[in-house]
Amino acid sequence: MSIRRTTAALAVMAIILAACGPSGGGDGSGAAGDCHVGMAWATFQEERYGLRDLPGLEAALEAGGATLTDNDAANSAETQASNVEALLDAGIDVLILNSAEPESSLQSVEAAVDAGIPIIAYDRELESADALFMTHDNVGVGRMIAEAVTEAQPTGNYAIIKGQEGQTNPLFLRQGFEEVLAPLIEAGDITIPEGAEVYTDEWLPDNAQDNMETILTANDNDIQAVLAQNDGMAGGVIAALAAQGLDGEVAVGGQDGDKAAINRVALGTQVVSVLKDATELGMAAGEAALQLCENPDISAVEGAVESTTVGGIEGYAVLLDPLPITRDNLQAALDLDWLTEEELCADVPSGTVDECP
């Protein structure tokens, strides 16, 4: 039943965009000697890129006196390929590539390498030793979800609600879960009942809800904790639990820092939402780009560690720590201006958490 909902639209848009050349607010090429950074975005369709990543990147580059030229590929690999060519033609010193399609991006990487330009693979891994991979540690996100949930509920039956089958992110997250769960399963404290670990078509919350209902039926409600791979699905899980009067009793974890999810953390129906601060990632990429302008050696970038890609290529990566939001540190989400107090405290009885008077 899966269908890439926007593929067709994006193909059409890609043609238009390709015809019109790179979009986005380019500042033009800077004066010689300046650090000129090119950023190829995969898509602005998701909220975070335009509202969080880009401002972070701009802030870091502005502080370092560098100029930025960026463009958006509307999720099309072809558009991105021509966008990168346009950036290279504009004489950039560093290329930041938020790949629309990692496999076909390798050509762009090659073109940049041939031009002697260092590359940052932004948030999406590229199978190349020449690109510095910068992302939030997705395995770490999985680990943090599992740590917070096992702390709240150290024993019992666990259900695991994974994202779309066949994508890499569910695997990273699952790996993080495993690192925490394995010893507890070994010790017999935690059990994953048969059939209680499922993938979710399209990461859809209502599919997660259907699946959770079925898991509860199959186990006569004998489920004590649920690890969901994002907050939308955690919402579906909690709706299924609420129908059995189990919301707040079963420990549920998720990620993304959705406003609704952080509100649920305050309400006590969700234990943790791991937040990946995209502005922080944008800033880190900007700072790394500034360093690469001085010295194009990616292994010399601050925080770069040796890492192996999914395909087994040895390279370097900068992994940022995600931030788990639990009832104990709701203030951290407010401090990040991630959401307003009103949004955090919707429906929360006063006095139950410090942040909601």
Partner: protein, 440 residues
Amino acid sequence: MTTQAEPIEAPLASEPRGEPVRTSLLSTLGVDVRLVGMVVALAVLWIAFNFLSDGRFLTPRNLWNLSVQSSAVAVMTTGMVLIIVSRNIDLSIGSILGFTAMIVGLLQAEWIPDILGLPLNAPGTWIVVVVLGICVGALIGGLHGFVIAFIGVPSFVVTLGGLLIWRGAAFALASGRTIAPLDPTYQLLGGGPQGALGATLSWVVAGIAIVAFAIGLVLNRRRRRRYGFPVRPVWADVTIGIIGSLLVAVAVWIANAYPWPPNLAEEYAIENGIPIPPGGLIIPTGIAYPVLIAIGIAVLMTFIAKRRRFGRYVYSIGGNPEAAVLAGINTRRTIMKTFILMGALSSIAAVIITARLNASTLALGTGAELQVIAAAVIGGTSLAGGIGTIAGGVLGAVIMQSLSTGMTLIGVDNAQQDMVAGVVLIVAVGFDSWLRRRRV
């Protein structure tokens, strides 16, 4: 005008073309052979799943969940049947669902509270939200229908465009934010133990359904006689009446056999000062509101399709568009109306899904168009047009949901579930065409 439309359903069996001359039991009873076949297939499926899941499938709880899970797709399928019968298609319903889901979410959680200064659970909010949501859906459907019928752009293209436009518009409405929590009264429309009729009202509904069914049989008999059509023997009508009543009674009995989950029952008891008997308080859940909505819509749509001029026009257009035009049917208006209806039904599905999830999220309804088209087609709707029943479509939706729930229950992987659903779709349609060929 009624006489003009009546002959289409004149034959005893509901097969619209060709008078069956055989006098098997089924044709004497005058029931739809294909529909009976589907019910049998569904029964086999349920029994198989029950066997494979160690008796967990055919429990009141699972069947109750199944009924709620099927309702949104069932609602949309009733409209899709008419669209496909008229030789059109609507690919935009998932996106219309997503868009109206954002509208109803924002209306109750932000717009109404902010503009009118009302709290989230102000009385009557839910009605305003539902009515406005349906209006928005109908408007979108009307827009599509207008372009299709009056400008002459093929429905495939217009609704493919709509699929992209309305998903994008849903994003634009709230930049992809999740809108939650929703109005507590509104949430009841999505089911859950509180969002159900309870034992007494469920039996009342069952009673009304049975009486209405009986009256329908009698009236149908009279009307047929009036127009000089052959009527079934009395014993056949009585048998159908009894079987129908029994099915209704069993369904309601199952819905009532699912008690409130113990935690909720306990909370309820404490809130209302009811002493909890030893062994726990048993509150029968009864028919869930979304299921009631879906059944109500299915009945209404069947009435529209079979008894109203508009419905008969749709079938005439699907059977032979040129002949329909020559017969003086305003085909354009009729087509536009089917899309208005489809839009409204998509927004009703949006209400059910958001109420059930207690949230409006951007991705809601993704891929729904395929599920709904598959349900309609499994239910015997012919993509060549002119043939299809609302009841078949609803059964198709239940079969699809049964497959998905059943396979999750026995631990079949997501990817394999999709493969099985695909095979079932092709086999169902293949069987249907074979059946149709054999009868001609």
